[in-house]
Every structure is written in C-alpha cells, then in structure tokens.
C-alpha cells in the first residue's frame, strides 16, 4: 500500500507520459462537454425561468429529476444511438472521444439547465417589475438575467464539470476504454484497480481530486471577489 503510494507519487513527479496523456484526454472530453452543455443549458434555463407555457411545472420537475440521471444509463442510450445499427450509427463515432463528449453533455445538460433555471428565476422575482416597467419583453429579460446572474451561473458550470470529470459509467460504455484513444482518468482507475496495478490508479485518483478541488477553489474565489466588486 505504502509502496503503491510511493510509486504513484513518482509517476506524478516524473510527469509520466502515459499519465499525462490520460489526464489531458479527460480534461478535453469533460471541458468540451461542459462548454456545449453550458451553451445549451443557459438559454434553456433562462427560457424556462421567465417563460410562461403549459406544462412548465412538469418540465421543471422532470428537469430536476434528470439531474440524478445514472451515467451508465446515459452511456447505454448514447451507445444505442451510435452503435452500427443505431439511428446515428453511420457517423461511426462510437468508441471515440466525440462519443464520450456527447454522452457527458447529455449527462450534465440537465444539471446546468436546472441549476441555472433556479438562479435565474430567483433573480426574475426580484427584477420582474422593474424590467417590465422599463418595457423589457421576456426575451430581453432572459438575456438581462443571464448576464446579471453570471456569477451564480459559474457555480452551475462547476457542478457540471465536477459531475463530468468524476463519472465513469458513460465514458466507459461509449468510449470503450481503449488504450491511447479513449482512456480517461476514471476508466483507467477502474481498470487498473481491477488488474491490481494500484500505483497508476492511485496517481490518477490524486490528480482527479486535485483538479476538482482547484477548480472549485478558483470558482469560489471568483464569486467572492465579484460579489464584493459588484454587489
């Protein structure tokens, strides 16, 4: 155990190329997924927050429920879509990083949309009369609120990133954990642990935790600073 930890630390210290490659792919996949999910989730959250349409409450409950979507189920669905016999099989992207990005995007889109909906709706309650008084329509209001809640939205992005970086089920199924192609931190940890190769698994585990802590700390400080600066 101590030996494994020592080996893990030396892998980190030497910037082992295999380890670096895995970390970089993980970041590429999860950051892409977060970027796309934010691009889709923010407008969706804002539209639901200020919109008035039949079935709105049902949609909110549904969206909140989707936050707890099991990654393996998302992986399975994307697998079915992208497999050779599936509707998008002709794209031939199963077992590629693209497939992993799609799966993670679907996994965290509900998180970003639901959390941003909540943040924007809270702001809407505060701003509604003033914005309507100034003659803002609902589309104007949605855009205004998106910008005014920008620091809260940062937190929703983080929640999404944390979920994407830490999940193993979806990327395992649609990526296939192919060495040098689709192997990311979580899938490697799962594989190496089952093989008994603890140092690599442990080293990646340390990096994964460090990244999540660093990103959260950075976002927390940004929010604190912005709150003091902008109120």
């Amino acid at each position: 155990m101590v030996e494994a930890l020592a080996t893990a630390l030396s892998l980190l210290a030497d910037l082992d190329p295999k380890l670096v490659e895995i970390v970089l792919l993980s970041l590429r996949v999860s950051l892409s997924a977060v970027g796309i999910a934010a691009l889709l989730g923010f407008p969706l959250g804002a539209a639901i927050a200020v919109g008035r349409f039949p079935g709105r409450k049902t949609l909110i409950v549904f969206l909140n429920a989707l936050m707890g979507l099991p990654p393996v189920v998302v992986g399975l669905l994307v697998y079915l879509l992208l497999s050779r016999a599936g509707p998008l099989g002709s794209a031939g992207i199963l077992f590629t990083p693209s497939a992993m990005v799609i799966a993670q995007t679907l996994l965290i889109l509900p998180i970003i949309a639901a959390l941003s909906r909540q943040a924007i709706e809270d702001a809407w309650h505060e701003y509604e009369e003033q914005l309507r008084s100034l003659g803002a329509g609902r589309a104007d209001a949605a855009l205004t609120l998106l910008w005014d809640t920008r620091f809260s939205l940062l937190t929703t992005v983080l929640a999404g990133f944390g979920r994407a970086a830490a999940e193993v089920g979806a990327v395992m199924i649609v990526g296939g954990n192919i060495d040098g192609v689709t192997r990311v931190m979580t899938t490697t940890i799962a594989l190496e642990t089952s093989k008994g190769d603890l140092p690599l698994a442990l080293g990646l585990g340390i990096i994964l935790i460090a990244i999540v802590i660093a990103v959260n700390a950075a976002a927390y400080m940004t929010k604190e600073l912005a709150q003091r600066r902008y109120g």
């Binding site: 505060e126 701003y127 009369e129 003033q130 914005l131 309507r132 008084s133 100034l134 003659g135 803002a136 329509g137 104007d140 205004t144 910008w147 005014d148 920008r150 620091f151 600066r229 902008y230 109120g231």
Partner: protein
Amino acid sequence: MKNGAILPLRLDEVSFAAGGRTIIEGISLEIAAGPSTIILGANGAGKSVLMRLMHGLLAPTSGRVEWHAREYPGAPRKQAMVFQRPVLLRRSAQANVAYALKLAGVSEPQRGAQAREALESVGLAHLARRPARVLSGGEQQRLALARAWALHPEVLFLDEPTASLDPSATREIESVIRAFDAAGTKIVMATHNLGQARRLGDEILFLDRGRLVERAPVEQFFAKPQSAQAAAFIKGELPWT
C-alpha cells in the same frame, strides 16, 4: 398638449383581488397632466397596487384602465416607475441608465451622452463607473431616478421612494422629484409621509381599505378633510412627520 400624449389616464370601476382578498375596490378617477398627485393612505390601503394597476404591472380583476393614447408592447414607454427598493443591474451606474435607454430604442452612440446627462442631473456623475449595487441606499434611489430621467417620461410613478432612506437622502430625492415636476413630468407618488405629501403634492388621493375616499387639493385636504377616515389618518400620522 404634446403630440401623442398618453394623459389623461382614466380608471373606470377598477377592482383588484388576489388570493380571495379584495385590495382595490371600484375606483374610478381621471389623472390629467399638470398637478402632482399624491396617493395617501395607511399601510395596506392599496396605494402600491393602485399605482401598479395604473402603470400596467398588474391587470385589474374588473374594470378598465385607459390611457388617452395606448402604448404598444415593444414601443418606448412614456411612463416610468421608481420603486421603494430600487432594482439595479450588476453593472456600472452609467450602464444601468444606458440599459433603460437601450430598451427605449435609443441608438448606441447616443446612449453614453444621455446617460451621463441623466447622472449629472441627480448629482451622480462622479459615480458613473461605480458598480450600481455597491452604492448607498440614497445613491441607489437617485440612480433609479436618473434612469427614469433619461427616458423623459410623460408620467413618473413613485412608490414610497424615500420610505427606507434617512432624512438627508430623502431631501435629495425630493429635490430630484421637484426637478421632474419642473421639467413637465406628471408626478404620481404614493407615500404615507404627510410632510412629503405637503412638500411635493398639489392634490391628494386618499385611499382607505382599497377605496378612493377623498380627492382634494393639498391645502384643503389637510385643513378640512371631508371624510372621517382622512381626518383620523391626518391626526394619527402627524406626530411622525
């Protein structure tokens, strides 16, 4: 009368109920350009709701609210409202004013100069770049007035604009309101501060439990209230002015 003026405003048997409670009951009145109108009444009399009905933020449960010229959604508004607690956006003071100008259809090159002019008129030019939400309470309310000023509204509604401010901030706000009046903007203000009503008002609309009980010129209202409710209100409120 100005071309396309939205005044006079007519309320015809307007009632408003929410949650099974009647808040405004059968109010009919006409608001014309000119004299500053003060809506007086105890807490819960319906002052805020009445102004929101006039301003179009609430729709009456029954009855009609009619402006002389209708305003269309999307067109620049000729009326503005300043709330008890100003709602300011997370951006600079000047950007808050520019935002209102943008919604009013003012082209971008003109917004900066007009926003600065509005800030100057309320004495906030030196704070133009300061984030709006870190200003003091009085400064925030003056900024809300600058935002309204920039729009040159024909009618300005004010809902207890000084209720949460200290006396010196209140004086500053009152002098800006006088400037609006001097510039020809029709003032409609709710307050329960009798001193303020006397200082700023020309006529009083007195509400009691959702009904319009009395309407009179300021001097007459305070000297000889016609209704028992108004007399009791003046007597009860005087010690706090």
